[in-house]
């Protein structure tokens, strides 16, 4: 097991005195699909932003034993540039990294195709549905070919069917690109469906309450949601979450 990312003794207190994370020690192995689950405000998004380097921890260290890889980030909102069409939005990270134009265009076109947005290259964000905007946001993240994909409750605002479709597409993309994924969610079922590992956090200030390893079949579809295996996985996560809440109360 190769460690890709190592969070050691991370804590975070914001300038306004809010203690978001009490202490987190977490090693993320290459190839894992790791979900961070916990109640609202437990610091799971902050942990993700610390991993991305967007927020500095108050104490503790973020280490990359293999060197810092290309990191992709998908936010809760699609955060697309409203004045740019889908193609330009997906190309943005490549433009910011000064990639040459034709290669950037090729890569963006491929990413758009992979998320199923072919034909919408020239559409503007306001013309897209919520699910399509999220697809564009995912295309933008994978266009830069990240080794690590960080996702902050990306599907929370979507309807159930769209969410399930995006869950399956995400698993396929992660598998094809051998991406490691850190996925923040407050949905027990979503974490149980997607993950090979679920880290449950306590209410604020966040600590790790449980670290659950799951072994779902590599290829899943809607029928997996009806299996005993899935029910057991969801049961485990759910029980751990309930324990974490009760311990805090």
């Amino acid at each position: 097991m190769t460690t890709l990312l190592s969070l050691s003794a991370i804590s975070k207190t914001f300038d306004n005195g809010l203690e978001a994370i009490a202490r987190i020690d977490l090693d993320v192995a290459q190839g894992q699909f790791l979900s961070l689950v916990g109640p609202s405000g437990c610091g799971k998004s902050t942990a993700l932003r610390i991993a991305a380097g967007l927020v500095a921890p108050t104490r503790g260290t973020v280490a990359w034993p293999q060197g810092r890889p290309q990191v992709g980030f998908v936010f809760q909102d699609p955060t697309l540039l409203p004045w740019a069409n889908v193609a330009a939005n997906v190309r943005l990270p490549l433009d910011l990294m000064h990639m040459n134009k034709s290669e950037a265009e090729d890569r963006a076109a491929r990413a758009i195709k992979r998320v199923g947005l072919s034909g919408f290259e020239n559409a503007y964000p306001r013309e897209l549905s919520g699910g399509m905007k999220m697809r564009a946001s995912i295309a933008r993240a994978i266009a830069a070919q990240p080794k690590l994909l960080l996702m902050d409750e990306p599907f929370a605002a979507l309807d159930e069917l769209t969410r399930q479709a995006l869950n399956d597409d995400l698993l396929k993309l992660a598998r094809e690109d051998a991406m490691t994924v850190m996925f923040v969610t407050h949905s027990v079922f979503e974490s149980a469906y997607l993950s090979s590992r679920v880290v449950v956090m306590t209410p604020r200030p966040g600590r790790i309450a449980a670290d659950i390893h799951l072994a779902p079949p590599p290829e899943r579809d809607v029928s997996y949601r009806l299996t005993q295996e899935f029910a057991d996985a969801a049961g485990k996560v759910s029980a751990a979450l309930r324990n974490a809440m009760q311990a805090a109360a």
């Binding site: 967007l54 936010f75 540039l81 409203p82 004045w83 943005l92 910011l96």
Partner: protein
């Protein structure tokens, strides 16, 4: 039908008003040095066509030069403010003083400095002063109003300050900047006439001077002709900027999208 009506309705209203005006002035025999009939204004316009067009050109030049300088200067200062709170804290109060001091009260002072033989210089300065602030304040707010999520995204990919400014802050500020430009376009014209109004004499040759001159001679019809031209300048400026706004925003910004239909 709806589209044609949008233009026909105000046109019909305008024609009806002119007809009523013509009728009332004739019926009550209002003296021509108080209120001329519309039919008397047109000859005043054609008879003074050359001088009016010359004055129009002077006023347009003053307005446009002042507007262009205000736009460039306002944007440049707004960019400085967006990069440095210190600069904003130091300079903004002075921008406010410039804005709140009634410009017409400063005009006589400026005229002494530029000299009454160069009223157009005072006109440009006054127009610039009044046109500057709306662009500065709107652009500053616009450059600040960035989606923090997008800033995070740019930072994640190692974007430089410059990239954040040109690829994120500036396009995001466009709706604000265009609003500022529409306000400033109108104010620049007011500034341009203010200097001539304050000068009252001298070498002024803009449209406002034609208004004053005609007023002194009780040529009210000519006064109306010059005033109509001033209105026309304001209208053209406003709709040119509205068109520019539509051009830049209609694909993505809700304010412009809705106008489409």
């Amino acid at each position: 039908m709806n589209g044609a009506l949008k233009y026909l309705l105000p046109a019909a209203l305008g024609i009806a008003t002119l007809a009523l005006w013509e009728f009332l002035v004739r019926h009550y025999q209002v003296p021509i040095f108080l209120l001329p009939t519309p039919s008397a204004i047109w000859p005043a316009f054609t008879e003074n066509f050359v001088s009016l067009m010359g004055s129009l050109w002077v006023t347009l030049q003053v307005t446009w030069i002042a507007f262009a300088v205000a736009l460039i200067g306002g944007l440049a200062l707004a960019i400085v403010f967006s990069q440095s709170r210190t600069a904003e804290n130091a300079l903004f109060p002075y921008a406010v003083i410039l804005q709140v001091t009634p410009v017409i009260s400063v005009a006589p002072l400026l005229l002494i400095w530029t000299g009454y033989e160069h009223v157009e210089r005072a006109a440009v300065i006054i127009a610039l002063v009044v046109a500057f602030f709306p662009i500065l304040s709107n652009a500053t707010i616009g450059l600040r109003s960035v989606d923090p999520g997008l800033v995070d995204l740019f930072r994640l990919y190692g974007a430089s300050r410059w990239q954040i400014l040109w690829r994120l802050q500036f396009p995001g500020a466009l709706p604000y900047i265009l609003t500022g430009m529409k306000i400033s376009g109108g104010l620049a014209l007011i500034g341009a006439v203010t200097a001539e109004l304050a000068a009252g004499s001298g070498t002024a040759t803009g449209l406002e001077w034609r208004v004053i001159e005609a007023g002194n001679r009780l040529e009210i019809a000519k006064m109306f002709a010059a005033l109509a031209l001033l209105s026309a300048v304001g209208i053209v400026n406003f709709y040119a900027l509205t068109g520019l706004e539509w051009l830049l925003l209609h694909r993505w910004h809700e304010s412009a999208v809705k106008k489409q239909g």
